[in-house]
Subunit: 139 residues, 4 copies
């Protein structure tokens, strides 16, 4: 069992991605699940006072990455191979929440989806499907 | 004809997205086409000294956005509705180049793709298809 | 309110798509939801005695189309604009079930997803996100 | 070198997918490339006398499959793992042509895209990106 606590994962993330320190809060971390909140700043906006697409992509990617590396037997070297994302509504400037769920965990590929909600969880603003590739255990 | 020169577009981008100033260089801007280069920094890396997925997503999104708003009759309020991106190779820390092409420009939707190459254009590292939605002309 | 009963919808589908008569059974039809079962035959197989990808795509597309045209104010002229589908497991030759859910219904676009399950609903075999475009009400 | 001639491939396809006999014509088969034409019938139509989405998906999938299995060292057991498809224009009832190109051929995954054109090649009607998974050589 190599599951991390939220504190351990937060520390680990800040070590490997020092540039995102303070930008995300891990709300939940369970088997096949994670929930991550964006700490929105001016840098995340695009014209119209709305959160930018790349900001939502990064939020979703981090939530899914945490769900993947929390799997027993997984590796922190897991890599995104495909993402398809639908942007549903223009979110106002706020601390969006991403909820990631693993739907299939294979030997080579891990597949699932991420929903991004407004801060009060009342509105779905984006939905993405992810495929991550796991490094070969023999290489 | 509302096409912009590269200089005009660079100034315009820095006005509406001050947070990306200095991060991207527009190399080409033609009807239905754009080419944008990333000025990579430590902030764009992920473990393994490779450019992160969200960095490539933002680069592709900016290149496609420029191609869209350069269309005659288009609007700077165009919004991303769907992106599907395949990550093909781990790019080394370098100034990647995105090449965007519009494939269909309709009244409501603009569709096309973006290829992301290594700095010397010898390797394709990511490929994405984009759909942007244009605001209704009557609203 | 222009919702259809399952019987009305079955008759309507057979009228507009006579070529799929007998190939699909509508199990559920509610606001923003539908469930459709494939009646699998040899024509749906690919090597390895597994249901082919195009068969699953058609099943998912029909389930989502039914959910879209069941929306109040929707139109039977709704058209698929984008689909991203992940194939998760090789399904054995069986009567797969697709479950479609609308996640955002706008004036121009309807967005949601479809999960395809094995006949006993115990395994998820594919997951897709759909965007449909609605014809302009003024044209 | 395990490349097939167009005749060999046509025979092979009819053997493994007898249900598609006569529905497709292979126009081109080269390293990393294929071109396949649909022989359209009433069964491929949807309301509005237009070729249905699932028909275009199957055409694209077959073209990409042929490009994959023509690669040296590839396997006919290659499986679709992800497809994202944009439908750009309503094609009239006609013999559409799909042009598939491999963009990255790895040990585990093969990635590329397919463009679907009207019969006279003058209009792009759909564009898709594909990921196929290759079976492990050791299993």
């Amino acid at each position: 069992m190599n599951k991390f606590s939220i504190d351990e994962m937060t520390k680990y993330l800040e070590e490997i991605f020092p540039q995102i320190r303070g930008k995300y809060i891990i709300l939940k971390l369970e088997h096949s699940l994670s929930e991550v909140q964006l700490v929105a700043t001016e840098a995340n906006l695009r014209p119209g006072n709305t959160i930018s697409g790349p900001t939502m992509f990064e939020l979703a990617d981090i939530a899914f990455y945490l769900a993947v590396i929390s799997l027993p037997g997984s590796s922190t070297l897991a890599l995104t191979t495909n993402v398809s994302i639908n942007f549903l509504r223009k979110p106002e400037h706020s601390n969006l929440i991403a909820s990631a769920k693993i739907k299939k965990s294979g030997r080579k590929l891990v597949v699932g989806d991420v929903e991004i909600f407004s801060e009060d969880m009342s509105q779905l603003v984006a939905h993405a499907i992810f495929t991550y590739s796991l490094p070969s255990s023999t290489s």
